[in-house]
């Protein structure tokens, strides 16, 4: 039973990591708290639902979701956020507004019914893991989450682009003083962050279902993950996702009446002692 609930926590954490990693990248480098991230997640899910359903290919749905949401991120960054550069409060308000508008657009286009991204035959049904029946799809999500963490870690720590991002997170002014084209770096990062939201939507849409309002639920969890992990930290997002995923699962099992408190109570406690999160540093 413990192993079973552990798997539940880990698979949920894997999804949270994918969504929150995009959020923390944008937050860390661009200093933008993108509260439309949840809506981008939902957009990714709907695109994967449409493309995956029509083409019959889950992979095509996932790719389409990432591309579409990256483009939406590009439009958001170049079309709107550009005009409120450096103004934190306006950026936050703007992204909240974009999130609401997108959400209502989804309601118009897809209606309010709950949809599920179709999964391939091979990922349906249950497998036997550690002596218990467990859905294959959730195991796939766990593996995908780990793979994406490794991939992102390599990009951040082994490539020039990653080095630039890390430098930008630490000291943006110094980075621009060295002659780096920050504008391009920012756009690419915003698109990458959005693509991760789209990927999360495609993955999550297959087992958490898609409907107007799902964006707010995932956004609250990602915020908690990033706050716990620390701004702009990939490792922080991974640890934060594990913590939130496990707390959410065991909270529902052990203290069902307090399940939200069990997730957000420890977060508040942590902030009291480490205001920048586990891996964060003062800007």
């Amino acid at each position: 039973m413990l192993g079973f609930q552990l798997l539940n926590g880990l698979t949920f954490a894997a999804l949270l990591f994918v969504v929150a990693s995009g959020f923390t990248l944008v937050f860390g480098l661009l200093r933008i708290v993108n509260l439309a991230h949840g809506a981008l997640y939902l957009l990714g899910g709907y695109v994967a639902y449409e493309v995956g359903g029509r083409s019959g290919s889950f992979a095509a749905g996932v790719v389409a979701a990432m591309v579409a949401v990256a483009l939406a991120g590009l439009a958001l960054d170049r079309g709107l956020l550009r005009f409120v550069k450096g103004q934190d409060l306006r950026q936050v308000l703007l992204t909240v507004g974009v999130g609401l508008v997108l959400n209502d657009l989804f309601l118009v286009i897809w209606g309010g019914d709950a949809f599920t991204v179709p999964t391939p035959e091979a990922l349906q049904g249950a497998a036997v893991v550690m002596g218990v029946f467990y859905p294959k799809y959730r195991l796939f999500v766990l593996l995908a989450g780990v793979a994406i963490f490794v991939l992102l870690w390599l990009v951040m720590n082994r490539t020039r682009y990653g080095a630039l991002i890390r430098a930008g997170v630490d000291d943006a002014e110094m980075l621009s003083a060295t002659g780096v084209d920050q504008g391009r770096l920012f756009v690419i990062t915003f698109m990458l962050g959005s693509a991760l939201a789209g990927l999360g939507g495609a993955m999550g849409g297959a087992f958490l279902s898609l409907y107007p309002g799902a964006d707010a639920e995932i956004l609250v969890f990602s915020l908690a993950v990033v706050i716990i992990g620390g701004r702009g930290s990939l490792e922080g997002a991974a640890i934060g996702a594990l913590l939130i995923g496990l707390l959410n699962t065991f909270g529902q099992v052990w203290f069902p009446e307090l399940s939200y408190f069990v997730v957000f109570g420890p977060m508040a406690l942590l902030l009291a002692f480490r205001p920048y999160g586990l891996f964060g540093r003062a800007a």
Binding site: Q5, N8, L100, D113, G125, P135, F250, Q252
Partner: protein, 408 residues
């Protein structure tokens, strides 16, 4: 909260005006067209307007004018819109709303004005029980715990003796589970465990292990909207389907949930006053017509408002369409026995303003064209909101809550 500001400005009232020159019957319809309950809200409007289209927008020679307002799934907005409809729109009566808190806000308002208020979907038990109002009538609606009792009876007859319930943690869930638990235990069954989870629970997996190991013969689930979709999916993907039968409150297997689902939803048993898969000719004509107009099978929200509109229209016909006379209208609605509606058998109100139905036990099955629908497998005649209990004695026990699920 922040949503409301934006959405209230978007929610321009939609008008359906019927031809007619003098003195139309003015109806105010409120539905959540935005916010969490928006999908059901649209179907409320669809079902309601569809009825008036089928009668060419006229009742007893008078034209009908329906003003639609968005309650934004929010009680404050609902109250504000009810005020506007009554005080500025001068509507003769109010109809609609979906969420219990919006309905209670409007009921509280019409307590003062005396405006007739018809609620085909608002199911809060006490609106037709302990805190009933003479001008609030549940035409074609049901009280929350009404149909879980026949379902409990059916479950007991299947040989189930040990049950677990899983439900959203709010009054609507407490009442439906309470009706089930009280009836089931009074027959001699046992409710071993009750799980209450917050509305919009993202991940149902933690409950699946506990349900699988609870040692029960069947599960009763009270879920609405996306929670229902997720619960049914988790139930199937975690391998409980095929091992432990799943029974649902009518919302759990309503068209609003199963129309986007596949094999995982097949076989769920629920109880309701309507079954879109009924062989009744009038029901089938209605379902086909609804499908033709809106490209989907009717949900609870659609059929309830179609039937509710029909009920009040039939009552108005008996009093020469005198919608201005509230007392006469309410008396006529109470006296009307609704026949020829999509609900199937004739329906009338009990002394407390809640309908008495022939309740269907329904099972989700696949139609030849691949769509899922609820087909009746058994009928319980004359099920009222107290079914098997003496009304006054019943109302002396507390309202159902998490703490009170029937005397233990």
């Amino acid at each position: 909260m922040k949503r409301r500001i934006v959405l209230a400005t978007l929610a321009a009232p939609a008008m359906l005006r019927a031809q007619g020159t003098s003195g139309p019957i003015k109806i105010g319809l409120m539905a959540p067209l935005t916010g969490v309950a928006a999908s059901g809200g649209r179907e409320i409007v669809e079902g309601f307007q569809m009825y008036f289209e089928t009668i060419n927008g006229r009742i007893g020679g008078r034209a009908v004018e329906v003003t639609v307002e968005d309650d934004a799934s929010n009680p404050d907005t609902a109250l504000q819109k009810a005020r506007r409809l009554v005080e500025q729109g001068n509507v003769h009566f109010l109809f609609g709303n979906l969420l219990a808190n919006t309905g209670l806000a409007v009921a509280n308002y019409v307590r003062g004005t005396g405006t007739p208020y018809f609620i085909p979907v608002i199911a809060a038990d006490d609106l037709t029980q302990r805190s009933r109002l003479p001008n609030v009538v549940r035409v074609a609606g049901y009280s929350a715990s009404q149909f879980s009792r026949p379902l409990a009876d059916w479950a007991y007859k299947q040989g189930f003796r040990r049950i677990a319930t899983i439900s959203q943690d709010y009054t609507f869930g407490h009442e439906q589970c309470g009706g089930f638990a009280q009836k089931f235990t009074s027959l001699g069954g046992r409710v071993l465990q009750q799980f209450w989870h917050p509305l919009n629970t993202s991940d149902f997996s933690p409950y699946m292990g506990q349900l699988a190991n609870a040692g029960v013969d069947a599960i009763f689930a009270m879920e609405t909207g996306a929670d229902a979709t997720r619960l049914i999916q988790a139930y199937a993907s975690f391998g409980l389907k095929g091992r432990i039968p799943l029974m649902g409150a009518m919302n759990a297997s309503d068209q609003s949930v199963i129309r986007t689902m596949g094999a995982e939803a097949e076989g769920i048993v629920s109880a309701a006053h309507f079954a879109e898969g009924s062989t009744n000719a009038i029901t089938q004509a209605f379902v086909a017509d609804y499908d033709r107009r809106f490209q989907k099978l009717p949900s609870l929200y659609g059929f309830s408002h179609f039937s509710g509109a029909m009920w009040v229209a039939e009552a108005l016909k008996t009093i020469g369409a005198d919608a201005e006379n509230r007392e006469r209208l309410l008396a006529a609605v109470r006296a009307t026995t609704l026949t020829g509606s999509p609900l199937g058998a004739p329906v009338s109100l009990d002394a407390y303003g809640n309908p008495v139905y022939d309740a269907f036990i329904r099972r989700v099955v696949r139609r030849p064209d691949g769509k899922l629908w609820n087909a009746p497998i058994e009928t319980y005649p004359r099920v009222d909101q107290f079914w098997g209990f003496e009304p006054e004695a019943y109302m002396r026990q507390p309202a159902y809550s998490r703490a009170f699920q029937g005397p233990r």
